[in-house]
Subunit: 271 residues, 2 copies
Amino acid sequence: MSSTADPCQAPLGVFDSGVGGLTVVRALRELLPQESIIYLGDTARVPYGSKSPDTIRRFSVEDTQFLINHGVKAVVVACNTATAHALPLLQTTFRVPVIGVIEPGVEATLADGRAERVGIIGTAGTIRSSAYQYALAMRRPGLQIHAAATPLLVPFIEEGWTDHPTLKLVLKEYLDPLLEKGIDTLMLGCTHYPLLMPVLKKMLGRKVRLVDSASTCAAHAKEVLHQHRLLRRSRGRPALDIFLTDLSEQAETMARRFLGADFGRVKKASL
Amino acid sequence: MSSTADPCQAPLGVFDSGVGGLTVVRALRELLPQESIIYLGDTARVPYGSKSPDTIRRFSVEDTQFLINHGVKAVVVACNTATAHALPLLQTTFRVPVIGVIEPGVEATLADGRAERVGIIGTAGTIRSSAYQYALAMRRPGLQIHAAATPLLVPFIEEGWTDHPTLKLVLKEYLDPLLEKGIDTLMLGCTHYPLLMPVLKKMLGRKVRLVDSASTCAAHAKEVLHQHRLLRRSRGRPALDIFLTDLSEQAETMARRFLGADFGRVKKASL
């Protein structure tokens, strides 16, 4: 379905295990307002974070194939777990550029030369993969890296308790061991976590720099599209199509919260 | 694969969206120690509680078909969400007896004639289905019923924080509105929740009777097998086979916790 005449006109594909990846779409729309976007949220099988690498790879290939079938010019893996386990496989399997969320966060972290002790939080799957730890250590040997799996944060965000006193206690429990190590940077290794920015800023003050996956990934996507001469130049109104593998009121409500805007009808996708 | 010679020898099938249903297997093994059991946990697509009725029904039919293909004599739906949305469909689709977790809990609640104000907690899907509320109201018109979706409890249990101060705050937040209504009975409408029994007993004391899905479902399964003359009489050692659609260390660790015992190798199931 892609336009063979001008691939720049084709939409950008974005997928995530659920609706959390819409924080990346939000960042992409701010940075690349002229691009059309097709988003796939695999809400029927969400979450990926607690599942095995094999299963995550299988799901990620199916998600990417769905987007390719819809004629996208590039694919953004807006899911840290899928990036951690499946990005190399997707990049060798498909011909279009495939962009993950981990490298851009790592680059942004290291762009500040003062970073010495970096904390990373994410789902069990992301942290267990060591993808962040590995990428940081490869680029800056000697960097102190402290990673913590924080599996309760996604459920809290999905419950809408992002400013709840209990969440603050959970965050304290998760972050205290990192703070005791004296981290100067905290990487938010999950596309849900940008919604925790306000509470984290209040808790951590200015001592700890926060690096989120969503905005750094959008900046990287812009660069990749530019390199491949795939940026859309048309001034025609861009489209936003949201597909979910399971439709529920809850998912649509969350989707609005993550995207920070309303959208048309969500479509049901069958993989 | 079922034994046509003596269907009593066939195993009992049990499925759940994940490993929480192993609390039902634990109760079944206590009550029916002579029965062989085949358990299917759909860990690749867990949880069901936040997904739509259509998707839950589709998954439940696939889960049941898997157990039927393994020659089970009856199927226990050890998942409140699947029972709420799919039980009637499963009962008309398959020929073997299909047993849910909701009716037995309702019967056990009403067996105490003094129950006047009943609280129910469960996943968003279970509570939204109104299956408990409906079953209670049908049997005892005038009963006061107060239901609350408590979606953070499963993540806390899966994180192993069943005795954590933060969990107590979350429980307080969820239960206070029910306690203010003066409930005398609290139904635990999720097969994960038996692991909260100790903390709930401490919090609620003797004022509130706790009714859990797992033990009441096992008692009901025994009755159904008896009625259908399907109880296994052999004294041969019964088998326990555990299939999961996704294998991960985390799932196996949790499975041990839920079953309260060790088990042999877990097998990978493809649906």
